[in-house]
Symmetry: C2
């Protein structure tokens, strides 16, 4: 594809300049992008509302999050210690003589970002992948999601304004609207692409992995794909808090019509009267929820189809659903149950139903519950709903949960992802393609950099982060000691 | 393979215990492995000498390095800040309420390590991959290299002694000697394997990548494979220091019969009288070197074959060789030259000749030199031999070099790799499979861990690294401030 080739060559040319800019200049640029988005808030909410069926309140919150992310990354690189500067000074007296070696993280090159259908702002054109890559010093090529290309175009206009205002290279960020899988493939396969960010379906993520594996030189693909976010309801809490739990989980399951990566799609409990009571209360709550429109017809059709698949499996029982939809694209929230034995022998029941649906797996005893946990694939989150007495009795269950996911939640719902230094939005496959990274929070920038060691360099030739005087005032490891002091 | 299945299940069972041990206990174990290797030094040098043809002095140095690595990782995890603890405390007043989130790095699971033929100690059974994985809290399955299986077995005996002495789980490290590619494939493909470490050929590394890509759940493969370590001789230094440069580079090219990943296989210069003079001096030095035995017949045959391939390419001229070998397995050091135009159009000339051979690419002008640099694939190292005047005139060349490799060396030879916090032994493909990591130095441990976020946990349920009182006294990011202070 000649057009993609031109775009990637432009990205590479821009990278040569952009990657050399001081972090403070990149920080200013990120903040200007946020300001330009803020200046267009009204239009953006209108366009995105029409394209995604998401309510204005949610879209406004998402714009807040997007702008906060941009500002968070600006603060992160302005502080500067994230480059992991490490310095070992020379020792001429050692035999053989010890050279001076200094290491820091440097941007890898142009990054390709795929817009996500379910987050038109926070995981799309100027979302977390773009913000983290720009913070790291990489240029970005955004493949707009076709379900909200108007929104994407308007956000890109905000970015272009910021590029002009801050004097960034013209092609620091580029916007690709050419539809079709061939475009995505050409972007991932292009020799100048050095990394890929994606949030979407398992099928989509696996396709990108395959394109990357077909390259002459493999590159990192960070795809956040598929998670059913198992929630374990421990016995004691079920007998004490069934009503509260039912209310909070019905709300979490149906929040945003379940269109979140962290939607609780799997509920686990040991069978008991208390468990049956909880399921009854939960089903009643689900029944009361009001169907709302999903993002687009593809997601809606997939919700109906995957839920039908789950419900048609042996032993799966539908508990209750909300009212049937009154309009096109509306989803009917639902909850079903199945026994552990049937769950264990049927991999279909582990497949994500993207939408307001949850499957309760009822285990005859603790052994069965542990078997189910051991069978589960990698997840973004897993949650323990448990009293102190539960946790004392069942430490082994919590330990098993810890091996399963990137985020382990105690007594809360998995929906709602903080954007900060301690967040992990990642997890073992198929939650993501690489459990060593997160796509949310400051360390998301690590996906787009590589460490470089400078050996025997004179001070003036070194990047500022590695110079003796520590002009950036960052925390460094100097001869194995963490310090902000200059090298003397 | 039933046997591999048993081994991986044992590794997983050991991981459950080993991964939970305090870092101080793991540190003590690593130091005990070093002590047990030290106690066997004499036998190890004898066995390895017979198996690898490496001289005793080199083997003794390599044992020193191996033991220093083990002790370095022990110190690294005892200090403890490497787990990247990050804490964001709750804020109930925020709308919506902000939960307490705390993140740290946790070991991923069993790791498979392939012994390297060229480093029977430092990159084999108790080498850098094993030491870094054990430090990280992972259990290890070592696939012994068939070229030095006796050495490997003896090192494994030392590890077993340390396991017993320190009361580690029996299968914390296991040793696989079943020969053949099928064994390696079964180890990489096994569902319980969570990471792979390898140092070897491009062909071998690519095969491991392929096995990993064929898994249901992809896992990280860190393979250090192929690098020709381009050295750029800048014009001014060639006219001033030709004699010294020729001596030091002949020594580096032939060190250990060129059997190092960082061997300078490609020399770049702009054509001139000074360049011709330097090449003449270098060829004379190469001619004087004495052939020595290579590691094994496979490496020797490959050296002869790949050098012949390079020498048979259009425009390649053999400058000089050392004396022809007097004994089987001896390698003849050699140096050749080719013009940039021919190099640019012939990808064969970028292939690694593993052994004491170097190809000088003579460029008609600076433009050609920059074209050659832009054409080169990813490298472990690249070196600039340059005076201050050179660097002032040719900053653009140094900038190009910086994009090429994991380590950029100024006025030294690339052979010799420091093992410390600032080393990068890594680089873009095909130098390694993932430029974001290093296989040498403290941060090599990062390859085997994943971040985990604990949300809403009470203090007693948290890992020590994340508790309010900071009982380990490590550096943490608490509400965006780097501190060793407790959370109040």
């Amino acid at each position: 594809m000649q057009e993609i080739n031109t775009i990637m060559e432009q990205s590479q040319a821009a990278f040569r300049t952009y990657s050399q800019l001081p972090a403070a200049v990149r920080a200013q640029f990120l903040e200007t992008v946020a300001a330009e988005i803020e200046a267009r808030r009204e239009q953006l909410v209108t366009i995105a509302g029409a394209e995604t069926n998401l309510p204005a309140a949610r879209l406004n919150n998402e714009i807040n999050r997007t702008n906060n992310q941009l500002k968070m990354f600006a603060a992160y690189i302005r502080e500067g210690s994230w480059v992991e500067a490490a310095i070992d000074t020379a020792d001429a007296a050692r035999v053989p003589a010890k050279p001076d070696t200094r290491k820091m993280l440097l941007p890898a090159g142009p990054v390709v970002v795929f817009g996500a259908s379910n987050f038109p702002f926070a995981f799309s054109t100027a979302g977390g992948d773009t913000a983290s890559a720009l913070a790291a010093g990489c240029t970005v090529v955004v493949k707009a999601h076709s379900a909200h290309s108007g929104t994407s175009r308007e956000v890109f206009t905000a970015i272009l304004k910021a590029i002009a205002a801050c004097g960034m290279p013209e092609h620091t960020v580029q916007h690709v609207e050419i539809p079709g899988h061939a475009t995505g493939k050409a972007l991932v396969a292009h020799p100048l692409t050095t990394g890929v960010g994606f949030t979407g379906s398992l099928q989509g993520g696996k396709a990108l992995l395959e394109y990357a594996a077909g390259r002459e030189n493999p590159i990192p693909v960070f795809a956040e794909m598929s998670s059913i976010n198992p929630v374990v309801f421990y016995p004691d809490t079920l007998s004490q808090n069934a009503d509260t739990l039912a209310k909070s989980y019905a709300a979490s399951i149906t929040l945003g019509m379940g269109q979140f990566c962290t939607n609780p799609g799997l509920l686990l409990a040991i069978g008991s009267e208390a468990t049956d009571n909880f399921l009854r209360l939960l089903a009643d709550e689900i029944e009361k929820t009001i169907p709302q429109k999903m993002l687009h017809s593809g997601i809606h059709a997939s919700y109906v189809r995957t839920m039908e698949t789950v419900l048609s499996q042996d032993g799966t029982v539908l508990l209750k659903t909300a009212a049937q939809p009154a309009q096109e694209l509306e989803a009917t929230p639902a909850v079903a149950r199945v026994n552990a034995a049937q769950f264990l022998q049927n991999p279909h029941l582990q497949e994500e139903v993207f939408g307001p649906f949850s499957l309760a797996v009822i285990c005859e005893d603790k052994t069965a519950l542990k078997q189910v946990l051991a069978t589960l694939k990698g997840q973004l989150t897993t949650t323990a709903m448990a009293t102190p007495a539960d946790l004392e009795t069942h430490a082994d269950i919590l330990a098993l949960q810890t091996t399963l996911a990137g985020r382990i939640i105690l007594n809360d719902v998995p929906t709602g992802v903080e954007v900060n230094a301690s967040m992990v939005h990642g997890g073992p496959f198929p939650a993501t393609t690489d459990a060593r990274f997160t796509s949310v929070g400051t360390t998301a920038a690590r996906r787009w950099v590589r460490p470089v060691c400078f050996q025997g360099f004179t001070d003036a030739l070194l990047p500022e982060a590695l110079r003796n005087s520590n002009p950036l005032g960052i925390l460094r490891i100097v001869n194995n000691e963490w310090t902000k002091s200059p090298v003397v």
